[in-house]
C-alpha cells in the first residue's frame, strides 16, 4: 500500500521505465548467483511452527530457468509497458500490480513448502484478475476478469485440497519431499483423488481443456500484461507444477491419460479455433493455448527425454510469444486496430516492429534458422522414443502447422503487401516498445547460434524434473530426414493454411454452433443456475414475512428437539404421592389452563390481555402455594403493572385485529400440540431424575451465618448471585432507554386522558405517599422476610401509576423528582456502588459489607428498587403522554 502511494506520488513526471530496474537487477543477481553458487539453493525458516509449515525455498535448475524467464521477460515487459502505457491514466496501478505479480511468480517457482507455494499461486490469480480488468469501464473487461478469476480460483481450491491430500499421504509439506516420497504412497486409495484435484488446479492455471476458455477472453488486458502473464509466465505455472510432480507420478496411467488427453485436446482444439479469429491478439492467445496443450502433452509422455523437450519448448515459447504479443500491441497502438483484415504492408511504417516480428515468427514457426527449431527438433526425437499414440502425432502435425501459419500471419501477412491508405504517414512506435520485442526475438535466434550457455541450463533443468534426461546432440540430430518428418510436413500444411487463411476462417466462422458448445457455455450455464438457485432458495427462506419466519423457526426447532429426544435417554417418573395442597394447585392450574385455552380463541385485544393476565395470576397463586411467596408477590405486581401498561398500549393498535382462526390451521395447531407434548416429555423426564440439593443446602445453611439474611431467596438475589440481579436491572433500565425512540411513533385515536373526579384527585396524592411508604417497607423487610427491591419497586410503580392516571403524567413526574430513565440508571449506579463496597474492603465485588449495622446489600436493593421504579414508570408516563397529546389527524376506524 505504501508502495502504491510512493509510485503515485511522482505523478506524470515519473518515468516508469525506471521500474524495469527492479526485474533487471533481479535478473543480474540471478546470473551472478548462478556463477557464484552451485544449484540448488535452499533456504528455510519456520513459519507456522505448530503446523510445521515453513517458509521453505528451493531453487534448482528448473526454478532457475523459470526465474530467468520471469525476471528477463519481466525487464522487457516493464520497458515495453513504460512506452505502451505512457498515456494511460492509472498506469501506476498496473505497474504496482505487475510488481506484486512478479514477486508472486518468483515465490511460486521457488517455494518448496506446498502451502507457501499455494499462497503465491493464489496471489498470481488475484493479480491476474486485477490486470485483466484494468479497463474496468468496459463490461467486457470486467466479465473477462471475473471469468479468469472464477476459473483459476476454482482450480486453486481444488489444488489446495489436492495438495493437502498429497502432503498428508507423503507426511511432509515439502514439494520435493512429496515427489521423493512418492513410492511410499502409491497404493493409497486417496492418490487418484489427489491427482485429479491437483491437475484441476494446474489445468485451470495453464488453461487446459476443459478450463481453457478464460485465456482468450483474458486478452482484454493491456498488451504488456498479456505478453507477460498470459503467455510467458503465469500460464506456465500450471505447467511448472505438473513438471515438478511428473517424476512422482510419471508411471501412473491416470496421470498419463489425463495429461496426454487434456494436452492433446487443448492443442488441437485451440489450433482449430485460432483459425476462427480475426483479432491478431486473440489469434496469438489461441496459439498460446495450443502451445500450452503441447507442453502438457509432453509432460504426460512416459519418456525420459520428454523432460528436455518440455524445458526447451517452455523456454522457446516464452522467448518468441512475448515479442509477438508486443508486436500485436505495437500494431494496435499505431494503427488503432488488431483486425488482420485491415492490416497490410505495415513494414513500410513500422520497420523495426516488422523485424522483431519476423525474427520471432521464424523462431515460432520452428524453421531451422531459429532457436525454435532446436526445441522442436528435440521434441520430435522425444516423440519418436515414446510409444506415442498415432492420432496424437497427426494432431500435433496440425498443431505445428497452425503455429507456423500463425507465425506467418503475424510476421508476413500484416507487414507485407500494399499498405492501406489510411495507414500512410503513421509512425513507428516509441523506442521503448520496439527494443523489447526485438531483443527477445534476437535472444531466441541467438541461442540457436550460441547455445553453449543456455544448453547446460536447459539440461540441468530437465534433469531436475526428469533425472535421466540427456542432452540430445543438437547438431547430429539435425538431419534432412528429421527436418521433413518433424517440420517439413507441418510446413507444407502451414503454407496451405496461410494462403487459404481467409477462406478457412470464413468457413469456420460460419459454424456458429462452435460458440454454444463446449466448456465456456457450461460456465455460463453454471452462473445462471447459481443465480436461479440462489433466488429460489432465498425467496423461500427469507420470504420477508415474520409469520413465516416464526413458522419455519418453530417447525425446525420442534424437529430438532425431537431429534434430540431420539438420541437422549428418556425416563418417566412414578407418581406415588400427591401433596396435600394439590387442591390449591388444581385451582391455580385450572385458572391458567382456562386462560391459555381461551386466549387462543379471543379476537378482542383487551379480552386477550385479560386471558393472559389470568395465566399470570394463576401462576402467582401457584407460587404462593409452593412455598414461594416472593415469587407470588412479584408475579402479582408484575401482572398488574403489565395489565396497566398493556391496556394503555392497546388503544395505539388502531386497526381491528387481524382475524384468523388458528384452530382451522392444522399445521399451526400441530406445531403447538407438538411443542406442548415436547415440553411435557422434557419435564416428566426431569421429575424422574433425583434432585441434587448441593446448592440448595449450601444456601440454606450459609444464608444467615454468612450473609445475615433470613429470606434465602432475597439473600441469593442481593448477595450470593447479586451479579444476576445487576444484569437484570440493567435489562430493565435499558429496555426503557431502548423503547424511548419508539414512543414518538405511536399515537392514539382518541384521548383517554380523562381526569378523574376531584375527590379522586384529592385522594391520589396521599395514596401515593402511602403506597410509596409501603413500597419502602417491603424493600426494607426483604432481607429477612418475603419482600425486597423488586416487589417494593413494583409497588412504587403502582403508586406513581395511579397518580399519573388520576392526575396526569406530568404531575406524577414531579413527585418522582428525577426523570424515570435517569432514575433507573441511578439505580444501577447505586447497585454498582454497593458492589464496590466489597471491593474496597478486599472481599470482592458485590460482597456484602456491614458498616454500623447497615449492610451494603440494602443499598444494592435500593438500587434495584429505584431501577424498577424508574423504568416502569417511564413506560407508564410516556404512554400516558401519548394519550394526553392533542388528537392527531388519524382517520382510521377505532378498535373493535
Amino acid at each position: 500500500m505504501s508502495n502504491q502511494q510512493a509510485i503515485k506520488g511522482p505523478g506524470s513526471s515519473f518515468n516508469y521505465i525506471a521500474l524495469s530496474l527492479i526485474p533487471f537487477s533481479l535478473f543480474v543477481a540471478l546470473i551472478v548467483g548462478l556463477v557464484q553458487f552451485p544449484l540448488p539453493w535452499q533456504w528455510s525458516q519456520p513459519w507456522v511452527s505448530s503446523l510445521d509449515i515453513a517458509l521453505a525455498f528451493r531453487v534448482d535448475a528448473f526454478s532457475m530457468l523459470m526465474l530467468m524467464l520471469i525476471t528477463g521477460i519481466g525487464t522487457m515487459v516493464f520497458i515495453y509497458g513504460s512506452g505502451y502505457l505512457s498515456h494511460t491514466p492509472g498506469k501506476h496501478r498496473i505497474f504496482f500490480v505487475l510488481i506484486i505479480f512478479m514477486m508472486a511468480m518468483i515465490g511460486a517457482v521457488t517455494a518448496d513448502d506446498v502451502i507457501l507455494f499455494f499462497v503465491f499461486w493464489e496471489l498470481t490469480s488475484i493479480t491476474s484478475f486485477l490486470l485483466v480488468g484494468f479497463n474496468h469501464a468496459s463490461s467486457d473487461a470486467r466479465d473477462s476478469a471475473r471469468q479468469a478469476l472464477f476459473v483459476t480460483m476454482a482450480g486453486g481450491i481444488a489444488l489446495l485440497a489436492g495438495l493437502l491430500l498429497l502432503s498428508d499421504m507423503a507426511g511432509t509439506w515439502s514439494l520435493s519431499g512429496i515427489v521423493a516420497a512418492a513410492p511410499t504412497y502409491m497404493d493409497d486409495p486417496r492418490l487418484s483423488y489427489a491427482i485429479i484435484l491437483v491437475l484441476i488446479g494446474a489445468f485451470t492455471k495453464s488453461a487446459q481443456f476443459p478450463f481453457h476458455f478464460w485465456l482468450p477472453n483474458a486478452m482484454s488486458a493491456p498488451t504488456p500484461v498479456s505478453a507477460y502473464l498470459h503467455s510467458a509466465t503465469m500460464v506456465k505455472l500450471g505447467i511448472y507444477l505438473m513438471a515438478r510432480l511428473d517424476p512422482a507420478f510419471n508411471e501412473l496411467l491416470l496421470w498419463e491419460l489425463l495429461l496426454i488427453g487434456a494436452g492433446a485436446i487443448t492443442a488441437v482444439w485451440a489450433a482449430v479455433l485460432a483459425l476462427r479469429e480475426r483479432d491478431l491478439k486473440r489469434i496469438l492467445a489461441r496459439s498460446t493455448l495450443s502451445a500450452l496443450g503441447t507442453l502438457t502433452l509432453l509432460i504426460g509422455l512416459p519418456s525420459s527425454s520428454a523432460g528436455l523437450a518440455v524445458i526447451a519448448f517452455l523456454f522457446a515459447h516464452a522467448v518468441y510469444k512475448a515479442p509477438l504479443f508486443m508486436v500485436a500491441g505495437n500494431i494496435d497502438h499505431v494503427t488503432g486496430t488488431r483486425q488482420i483484415d485491415h492490416l497490410m504492408g505495415l513494414r513500410r511504417v513500422m520497420p523495426w516492429t516488422a523485424a522483431a516480428a519476423i525474427l520471432a515468427g521464424l523462431s515460432m514457426a520452428g524453421l531451422p534458422m531459429a532457436f525454435g527449431f532446436v526445441a522442436k527438433d528435440i521434441m520430435a526425437v522425444a516423440k519418436e522414443q515414446s510409444e506415442l499414440v498415432e492420432i496424437v502425432g497427426y494432431g500435433l502435425l496440425l498443431v505445428n502447422a497452425v503455429a507456423m501459419a500463425v507465425a506467418a500471419v503475424a510476421a508476413i501477412r500484416v507487414f507485407w503487401g500494399p499498405l492501406e491508405k489510411s495507414f500512410v504517414g503513421l509512425r513507428e512506435a516509441n523506442w521503448r516498445m520496439v527494443i523489447p520485442p526485438l531483443m527477445l526475438a534476437i535472444i531466441g535466434v541467438e541461442f540457436e547460434l550460441f547455445p553453449d550457455f543456455i544448453d547446460p541450463l536447459l539440461l540441468s533443468a530437465a534433469q531436475s524434473i526428469s533425472p535421466s534426461s540427456q542432452l540430445v546432440e543438437i547438431s547430429t540430430s539435425y538431419s534432412f530426414q528429421n527436418m521433413f518428418s518433424a517440420t517439413g510436413i507441418s510446413a507444407l500444411i502451414a503454407i496451405f493454411l496461410f494462403l487459404a487463411w481467409d477462406r478457412i476462417h470464413d468457413r469456420l466462422a460460419s459454424m456458429r454452433w462452435l460458440d454454444n458448445f463446449g466448456p465456456e457455455a457450461s460456465y455460463e450455464v453454471v452462473l445462471t443456475t447459481l443465480k436461479k438457485t440462489a433466488s429460489i432458495h432465498t425467496r423461500f427462506l427469507q420470504s420477508g414475512r415474520l409469520d413465516k419466519y416464526l413458522l419455519l423457526t418453530i417447525s425446525a426447532l420442534i424437529a430438532m428437539s425431537f431429534y434430540v429426544f431420539w438420541n437422549a435417554p428418556i425416563q418417566m417418573p412414578a407418581f406415588n404421592h400427591w401433596p396435600m395442597h394439590s387442591w390449591a394447585w388444581l385451582v391455580a392450574g385450572g385458572l391458567m389452563s382456562i386462560g391459555a385455552v381461551v386466549a387462543v380463541f379471543l379476537q378482542n385485544r383487551l379480552a386477550l390481555l385479560m386471558a393472559v393476565g389470568l395465566i399470570g395470576y394463576g401462576s402467582a397463586i401457584l407460587f404462593l402455594f409452593a412455598g414461594a411467596p416472593d415469587l407470588a408477590f412479584t408475579q402479582f405486581t408484575v401482572e398488574t403493572v403489565l395489565v396497566v401498561i398493556a391496556a394503555t398500549v392497546i388503544p395505539f393498535f388502531k386497526h381491528a385485529p387481524y382475524r384468523e382462526t388458528p384452530w382451522k390451521q392444522p399445521l399451526k395447531l400441530l406445531l403447538a400440540l407438538l411443542a406442548g407434548a415436547g415440553t411435557f416429555i422434557l419435564l416428566m423426564n426431569l421429575q424422574a431424575i433425583p434432585e441434587n440439593r448441593d446448592l440448595a443446602s449450601w444456601f440454606a445453611s450459609n444464608s444467615l451465618p454468612q450473609a445475615n439474611g433470613r429470606n434465602v431467596v432475597n439473600v441469593i438475589i442481593v448477595d450470593f448471585r447479586a451479579l444476576d440481579t445487576l444484569g437484570e436491572i440493567a435489562v430493565v433500565a435499558f429496555s426503557l432507554l431502548a423503547a424511548k425512540p419508539l414512543f414518538t411513533h405511536i399515537s392514539a385515536n382518541r384521548s383517554e386522558a380523562a381526569s378523574g373526579s376531584v375527590l379522586l384527585e384529592k385522594l391520589a396524592v396521599p395514596l401515593y405517599w402511602m403506597m410509596l411508604t409501603a413500597a419502602l417497607w417491603i424493600l426494607l423487610r426483604g432481607h429477612n422476610e418475603p419482600g425486597g427491591g423488586f416487589i417494593g419497586g413494583l409497588v412504587a410503580v403502582a403508586a406513581s401509576s395511579q397518580l399519573a392516571i388520576l392526575y396526569n403524567s406530568r404531575f406524577a413526574r414531579k413527585y418522582q423528582y428525577l426523570m424515570p430513565s435517569k432514575l433507573a440508571m441511578l439505580g444501577i449506579g447505586m447497585a454498582m456502588v454497593a458492589g464496590m463496597a466489597g471491593l474496597i474492603t478486599g472481599e470482592g465485588f458485590l460482597r456484602h459489607v456491614e458498616i454500623a449495622g447497615l449492610s451494603s446489600v440494602l443499598l444494592f436493593d435500593l438500587g434495584v428498587f429505584l431501577t424498577v421504579w424508574g423504568s416502569f414508570t417511564g413506560y407508564v408516563y410516556s404512554l400516558l403522554e401519548r394519550h394526553e397529546l392533542p388528537l392527531e389527524t388519524s382517520e382510521q376506524g377505532g378498535m373493535s
Partner: protein
C-alpha cells in the same frame, strides 16, 4: 480485578452517557473504549503469563457464587470486542449528527459490556442474563434509526430471538433441575460422571438448540438477514461483526469444555454444511451491500459450526482462529460498506459504482478484507479455512471439506460482485463524495494491517490457541 474492569468500565460509561452530552459524551466514550482495549490487552498478558484467571463475585466458594473465567480464548475475544467497539466509536463520532447521541453511546457501551460479560460468564444462568442484556441493547440500537424499516426489523429480530431466549431459559432451568448446578466447572464434572452425564444429554441438547438459534444456523437464521441490514453500516460492524460470533464462542466453550455433545457432532456438522451453503446462496441473490454481508454472516457461522462439529483440539483451534479473523474482517467490511454509502450514496450495488478510480485506498482495504473473507492467501481468512479443512481431512470428512471449499468459491462470487459493481463499474450517476474523515480511514487501516498480519504471521496466534485446553467428553 483484571477480570472485573473490562466489564465494569463499559457499563459505567454506559450509565454515565445517559447524563451527559456533547463533546464530553464523545470524549468520555472514546477514552473509555481505548482504556478498555488497554485493559483487554493487560488481561491477555496476565492470562498468557500466569494461566487462566477466575473471579467469583462476592468471593463465595466456587460452585455457589457466580464465576467469571478467562483463558486465552476469552481474553482474545475481549480484545477483539474492545477493538471493534473502539473503531466503531471513532466511526460513529462522524457518522450521525442528528439523533440522540447519549442514547446511542449508552446502548453501544451496554452492548459491549454485555458482550464481554457473555464471554466471561462461567455460569449458565448468568450467561442467560447477559444474553438478554445484549438483546435489548441491539434492539435499542436498531430502533434508534427511527425509520419504518428499523422498527420493523427490530420486531422481526425480537420475535424470533425472544423465542430462542425463552428456550435457553427453559433449558438452563431444566439443566439446573436435573443436576442441581449452574457453574461451568461443576457442570463439566457432572457431565463427565457416569451417574449424571446422561441427564445432560437431553437438556444440554435443548440448550444447544437455543444457541443454534442465537448463532443463526440453518434454518434458524431468518431473523438475522431480516434485521441486520436495517442498521446503519458502522453499527452493523459492532452488531453483525460480533454478536453471532459471541454466540458461537459460547457454543465452543460449552461444547468444548462443559457439556458432552458427542452425540450431536455429526448432526451439527451437516447442519453446518447446509448453513454455509444457504448463507452464500442468500448473499449471491442480493444486491444490497448490507444484505450480502449479513448473509455472509450466516455462511461463516456455518464454517464455525463445522469447526465445532469436528470437536477436536485441532478443530477448535481452527474455529477459534476463524472466529477472530472473521470478527475483524466482518467489522472492516461493514465499515467499508458505510464508507461506500457515504461516497456513492447507496448500499444497492446497482445504483453505485466507480469507487476504484475515486477511492483507491478504500479499494485496497476492501480488496484485502474481501479476499480475507473468501480465504485467499496471504490473508487471515486463509489460515482459518486451512486449519478447519485440514482437520476435516484428518477426520476423513471429505464431503464437509468439499462443502467448505465450495462455500469459499461462492463467497468469491459475491465478493467479486461487490468489486465489479461497486468499484469497477462506472457510477451510473454521480458520486456523492461526502468528506470522509481521516480518522475513519485510520482505524480501518489499522484493522486491515491486523488482518494482513494475521495472514502473514499466523504462528503466534495459532500457538496461543493451541495452548487452550480443549477437552471433549465433558471434563474440564
Amino acid at each position: 480485578m483484571s477480570l472485573l474492569m473490562p466489564f465494569l468500565l463499559p457499563i459505567a460509561t454506559s450509565l454515565l452517557s445517559v447524563f451527559i452530552k456533547g463533546r464530553l459524551l464523545i470524549g468520555i466514550n472514546l477514552i473509555s473504549s481505548f482504556t478498555l482495549l488497554a485493559l483487554a490487552l493487560q488481561l491477555l498478558f496476565e492470562v498468557v503469563s500466569s494461566g487462566p484467571k477466575s473471579l467469583i463475585f462476592g468471593n463465595w466458594p466456587v460452585p455457589y457464587g457466580i464465576e467469571f473465567y478467562a483463558d486465552g480464548l476469552s481474553a482474545l475475544l475481549i480484545i477483539l470486542i474492545a477493538l471493534v467497539s473502539a473503531v466503531v466509536m471513532v466511526f460513529m463520532v462522524h457518522w450521525e449528527r442528528t439523533s440522540d447521541k447519549s442514547a446511542y453511546f449508552a446502548l453501544a457501551q451496554c452492548l459491549v459490556a454485555s458482550a464481554i460479560a457473555v464471554s466471561l460468564a462461567a455460569d449458565l444462568f448468568n450467561l442467560y442474563v447477559w444474553f438478554e442484556l445484549m438483546l435489548i441493547a441491539v434492539l435499542g440500537l436498531m430502533v434508534l434509526g427511527k425509520g419504518r424499516q428499523q422498527t420493523e426489523a427490530a420486531l422481526k429480530y425480537f420475535a424470533v430471538s425472544m423465542l430462542g431466549t425463552l428456550i435457553m431459559l427453559s433449558a438452563i432451568g431444566m439443566i439446573h433441575g436435573a443436576v442441581g448446578h449452574l457453574n461451568f466447572s461443576a457442570l463439566a464434572e457432572l457431565a463427565a460422571s457416569e451417574d449424571t452425564g446422561h441427564y445432560l444429554t437431553l437438556y444440554g441438547g435443548m440448550l444447544l438448540l437455543a444457541l443454534l438459534l442465537k448463532i443463526g444456523a440453518f434454518p434458524l437464521f431468518a431473523w438475522l438477514p431480516a434485521a441486520y441490514h436495517a442498521l446503519p453500516a458502522p453499527l452493523l460492524a459492532l452488531v453483525g461483526g460480533l454478536l453471532t460470533k459471541i454466540s458461537v464462542y459460547v457454543l465452543m466453550r460449552i461444547s468444548g469444555q462443559v457439556l458432552d455433545y458427542q452425540l450431536y457432532h455429526e448432526a451439527i456438522g451437516w447442519l453446518a454444511v447446509i448453513t454455509m451453503l444457504s448463507g452464500v446462496l442468500g448473499a449471491a441473490y442480493h444486491w444490497d451491500l448490507r444484505r450480502i454481508l449479513s448473509f455472509h454472516i450466516v455462511s461463516q457461522v456455518g464454517f464455525l459450526l463445522l469447526g465445532v462439529a469436528l470437536a477436536s483440539p485441532a478443530g477448535m483451534t481452527g474455529t477459534a482462529f476463524f472466529l477472530f479473523h472473521n470478527i475483524l474482517v466482518k467489522a472492516n467490511l461493514f465499515l467499508i460498506a458505510g464508507l461506500i454509502w457515504m461516497t456513492a450514496g447507496h448500499y444497492d450495488l446497482r445504483k453505485i459504482g466507480g469507487l476504484y478510480p475515486a477511492r483507491p485506498l478504500l479499494s485496497v482495504i476492501f480488496l484485502l478484507s474481501a479476499l480475507s473473507l473468501v480465504g485467499v492467501p496471504p490473508t487471515s481468512g486463509f489460515w482459518g479455512k486451512l486449519l478447519i479443512i485440514m482437520e476435516t481431512f484428518t477426520q476423513e470428512k471429505y464431503l464437509w471439506a468439499a462443502a467448505a471449499l465450495i462455500t469459499s468459491m461462492l463467497t468469491l462470487y459475491s465478493m467479486s460482485k461487490i468489486w465489479l459493481e461497486g468499484f469497477w463499474k462506472p457510477h451510473p450517476g454521480q458520486l456523492v463524495s461526502l468528506v470522509i474523515p481521516k480518522s475513519t480511514y485510520m482505524v480501518m487501516l489499522i484493522m486491515s494491517v491486523l488482518i494482513l498480519m494475521m495472514g502473514l504471521m499466523p504462528g503466534p496466534l495459532i500457538d496461543l490457541l493451541q495452548l487452550q485446553q480443549w477437552q471433549q467428553g465433558g471434563a474440564l
